[in-house]
């Protein structure tokens, strides 16, 4: 048998939308098979069908040529299918080890045999270079490590077919390198991998074949080595995509955001998460904070936006001291914020799309009168944003946000924040999880903001993005700003050195 897994003519419907429409996907043994498609094309849905989370209306699944029924994840596990979800599913107040063995605990006389499990986990972890601390609590570890836990979970269960749903969206470039290596190694051992990503570089680097979906329909399966990136993105979006951004000459105005000597305490240890940081962002410029994840960028943003308290320093917005004012006050003064964690901060997942789109506006005169919500205005506004930012979902503005695809959730947040037309937009990884078409659009929006004389503070781990759209780069290392660079004068390699802390520049 040539194929380990065959999904034949799969159709899966949700209220208002056919997420998968007659899709066929065949996975060879030992191959890395990429799945490419726009946000909401149905990739996660298709994988969830294979993992037994959804039952398809039509179609069959074959394992080694034999038809199988996968009614729930236990069935999938029994067939050797494992999945790392787009949004991880770990128990936060359990340790790494407890999470890995959860559900497949081996016991003796009713007691857990933890020692054996620990030995096996450590073996696997060493063999694949998946470094984890088995006794750390999930809530205390980075997303990168959480992902390694998810991978170990699959390996611990001896899964042979591994599904990775956008594993790289949450990783730093270094972690992505590592993950690619691990995936190749797993494939060379005969494991078969299904890999969802929006980054064509990654597909080029590791995948053998690639299946392209568009709006729930199957487009084609191609040989990666024989197809160019441009061709792939055109297949997926249905038009040519241009990621090079046209930018007008920069014309910097008065400072909008001024940060003076900001200090934020660290959650663990006595070191400061943000250590005496000062910088300015002026009208008409996009300033990017670059750095390796965990060097204080998140804490910096939380402090600027008023979500966490600070130890010292001053923050000015258009000359007004906003160091101690409420979040609402900052918003009204013209600050908007695309947060790092879309599920935790950015969305009320149980609210409808419409209610999420008015999350920062519901109290303004246009949307309420005497304390009563004006639904008609809210509906019209939601429809406008959905149309403008191409937010795709099953039931339009009434869709429960939780059911939307990851990328479309992100688009909803970006739409809301940009449409506030802020004086300063603080955007943390604004294009995380978006397809190339959407990235192009969001980048254009950011540049438009800048050209209209607004200020943008961009926090990104993505070097391409940093080099492409910023006017100025601040490099953050161990809580300090170690360099203030001009993207036109610095090479990617040099930037990397600054980020790694092996080079320091003069802060301008």
């Amino acid at each position: 048998m040539e194929y380990v897994i065959e999904m034949l003519h799969i159709t899966k419907e949700f209220p208002g939308i056919i997420a998968n429409d007659d899709i066929t996907l065949q996975l060879k043994k030992g191959e890395i098979h990429a799945l490419l498609g726009e946000n909401g094309a149905g990739k996660s849905t298709l994988m969830s069908v294979l993992f037994g989370l959804y039952q398809p209306e039509k179609g069959t699944i074959r394992k080694d040529g034999v038809e199988v029924k996968i009614k729930d994840p236990n069935d999938a596990n029994g067939l050797g299918i494992g999945m790392v979800h787009q949004h991880f599913k770990l128990v936060h107040n359990f340790t790494v080890l407890q999470n890995i063995i959860l559900g497949v605990e081996t016991t003796k006389n009713g007691f857990l045999k933890m020692d054996e499990a620990r030995k096996k986990v450590m073996e696997l972890s060493n063999r694949y270079g998946l470094m984890v601390d088995p006794d750390a609590y999930i809530s205390d570890i980075t997303v990168g490590m959480q992902q390694r836990v998810e991978i170990l979970k699959m390996l611990y269960r001896n899964n042979e077919i591994l599904i990775f749903d956008e594993p790289t969206a949450v990783l730093t470039p270094q972690e992505i390198e590592e993950l690619m290596k691990i995936m190749k190694e797993l494939a060379s051992e005969g494991k078969s991998i299904l890999f969802i990503t929006h980054k064509l570089n990654e597909i080029k680097e590791v995948a053998d074949r690639c299946t392209v979906l568009r709006k729930g329909k199957y487009i084609d399966t191609i040989d990666v080595s024989e197809t160019s990136k441009e061709a792939m993105s055109e297949m997926m979006v249905g038009r040519k995509v241009d990621l090079q951004i046209e930018k007008a000459e920069i014309s910097v105005g008065a400072p909008v955001l001024e940060v003076k000597d900001l200090v934020v305490a660290s959650k663990q240890g006595s070191k400061k998460a943000v250590n005496h940081v000062s910088f300015k962002v002026s009208k008409g410029e996009i300033v990017c904070v670059a750095g390796i994840d965990g060097n204080g960028q998140s804490e910096l943003v939380y402090a600027l936006t008023g979500l966490s308290s600070i130890e010292g320093g001053q923050i000015l917005l258009n000359g007004e001291d906003i160091t101690r004012v409420s979040v609402r006050h900052r918003n009204k003064a013209g600050m908007s914020h695309i947060p790092e964690d879309r599920h935790k901060d950015g969305l009320v997942l149980d609210y409808s799309l419409q209610d999420n789109l008015i999350l920062k506006k519901y109290f303004t005169p246009g949307f309420q009168k005497n304390g009563f919500l004006r639904f008609r205005e809210a509906e019209a506004y939601a429809d406008k944003l959905i149309e403008k930012f191409d937010i795709r979902s099953g039931k339009g503005r009434e869709t429960e946000t939780r059911s939307m695809s990851g990328g479309n959730q992100q688009k909803a947040i970006v739409a809301r924040e940009i449409d506030l037309n802020p004086e300063i937009l603080i955007a943390v990884q604004p294009t995380r999880g978006l397809d190339v078409g959407a990235i192009e659009y969001i980048h254009k929006q950011l540049v438009t903001q800048r050209d209209e004389g607004k200020a943008v503070l961009l926090i990104s781990l993505e070097l391409d993005e940093v080099m492409n759209i910023s006017d100025r780069i601040l490099v953050m290392y161990e809580g300090e700003i170690v360099a203030d660079l001009d993207p036109k004068e610095v090479s990617v390699q040099e930037l990397g050195l600054y980020m790694a802390g092996s080079k320091r520049g003069e802060a301008r």
Binding site: R328, G346, K360, L373
Partner: protein
């Protein structure tokens, strides 16, 4: 069939259906308990429960509404808190403190003229109920004390304090109950006395029901409007669903939490006032070391209504109805304790089976679908012949 399916897709419909299904499961379970405890009379007993308030005609129905009144309020109290992400287990304490306040004002403040007397008494009950919830609210918001622990604590403080206060100020030692409130403090009948009575010879045997039931229904509608139509409700629900996202949106989550807890307490307190300001044949406060059952029953009422304020009206009436039915079981030699167990089983099983509502609902949907498929097949078969 297609129509049926499209109705099934509707959210509100699926909720109603799952509530009704849960009730059926609860009833089934009650029947099993009846069978176990008294096999020979199980069927008769079950019929009596089903007949509920109807067993004693118009007056019985009146009584169902009378006892549903406080349940609507405590159900709203629990449901409102729940919608905003809080577990208010403190309804019994808030309820009894409200009850005491209402009766105290009803007995002592006789200087107030007719409508004002009962209105002030109700307002007093509402305010004190709110204050009783303010403490757990503040503890939760500013010291991160879990509201379940704090409200349970406040329940016992409330119970003992109310006992002490009743004994000290408004005790009728001959009956070992709280005193009768002044006539001016009794809630008006609002015409309900013309409907809910039985005639015994020449005298009318009146039900206790009064305008309290209207007040309860109006409050339910107001709560529905607050939750669904106002910016205030929008904020409260956002806090309930996700505190982090609310904070991010600039909503003052701490203030909202306290406000929400206080409103919840006010509802329970008002419930206490409505039950006890009911004149000569109405309830009076007993001095016993038991937490107010009306308070606890707010939990299943809210669960069964899926915290929907309008649904709460119906689920409270259902639970009151079943409870009344239970009282009449005594005619069949069931021991009162067993009756309590049976009724409690029906109530709580109904509420808890809702946790499986998704399963129940999927089951119904699959049924409809397979029925449709069969019909389709039959049609196709017919076509071939």
């Amino acid at each position: 069939m297609k129509q049926l399916q499209s109705i099934l897709e509707k959210d509100s419909f699926s909720r109603t259906i799952s509530s009704i299904f849960s009730i059926l499961i609860g009833l089934l379970f009650g029947f099993i308990i009846l069978l176990v405890s008294n096999p020979t009379q199980a069927v008769d007993g079950f019929l009596i429960i089903l007949k509920g308030g109807f067993s004693t005609h118009a007056k019985g129905i009146g009584q169902v509404l009378y006892f549903a009144t406080p349940l609507i309020l405590t159900g709203l109290s629990v449901g409102f808190a729940f919608k905003t992400g809080l577990f208010n287990i403190g309804a019994p304490g808030q309820f009894i403190m409200g009850a005491f306040t209402a009766v105290y004002i009803g007995v002592k403040w006789t200087f107030l003229p007719a409508p004002w007397h009962w209105i002030v008494a109700l307002l007093g009950a509402t305010i004190v109920g709110g204050l009783w919830a303010l403490i757990p609210g503040i503890l939760k918001a500013y010291l991160n004390v879990h509201e379940v622990i704090a409200t349970i604590m406040m329940n016992y403080i409330g119970m003992y304090l109310a006992n002490f206060l009743v004994k000290s100020y408004i005790y009728d030692s001959k009956k070992a109950l709280s005193m009768n409130v002044a006539d001016t403090a009794v809630l008006p009948k609002a015409g309900l006395d013309k409907i809910f009575y039985n005639t015994m010879g020449t005298t009318k045997d009146l039900s206790t029901v009064n305008c309290g039931i209207f007040i309860a229904i109006i409050i339910a509608i107001i709560i529905y409007i607050i939750l669904n139509k106002t910016t205030f409700g929008y904020e409260l629900k956002a806090c309930g669903f996700s505190q982090d996202a609310s904070k991010y949106a600039g909503i003052n989550d701490k203030r909202n939490l306290v406000t929400s807890m206080v409103i919840s307490g006010m509802l329970a307190g008002l419930g206490g006032g409505l039950l006890y300001l009911s004149g000569g044949n109405g309830r009076r406060i007993k001095v016993v070391d038991v937490l107010a059952i009306e308070g606890f029953n707010g939990i299943p009422v809210a669960l069964l209504a899926l915290s929907n304020p309008i649904g709460t009206i119906f689920s409270a009436i259902f639970i009151s109805y079943i409870t009344q039915g239970g009282h009449y079981l005594q005619t069949l030699n069931f021991v009162p304790e067993v009756i309590d167990i049976i009724i409690a089983c029906i109530i709580y099983f109904s509420a808890f089976s809702l946790f499986f509502k998704d399963y129940i609902f999927r089951f119904i949907k699959n049924r409809v679908q397979s029925m449709e498929e069969k019909k389709q097949e039959r049609l196709e078969d017919g076509g071939e012949e």
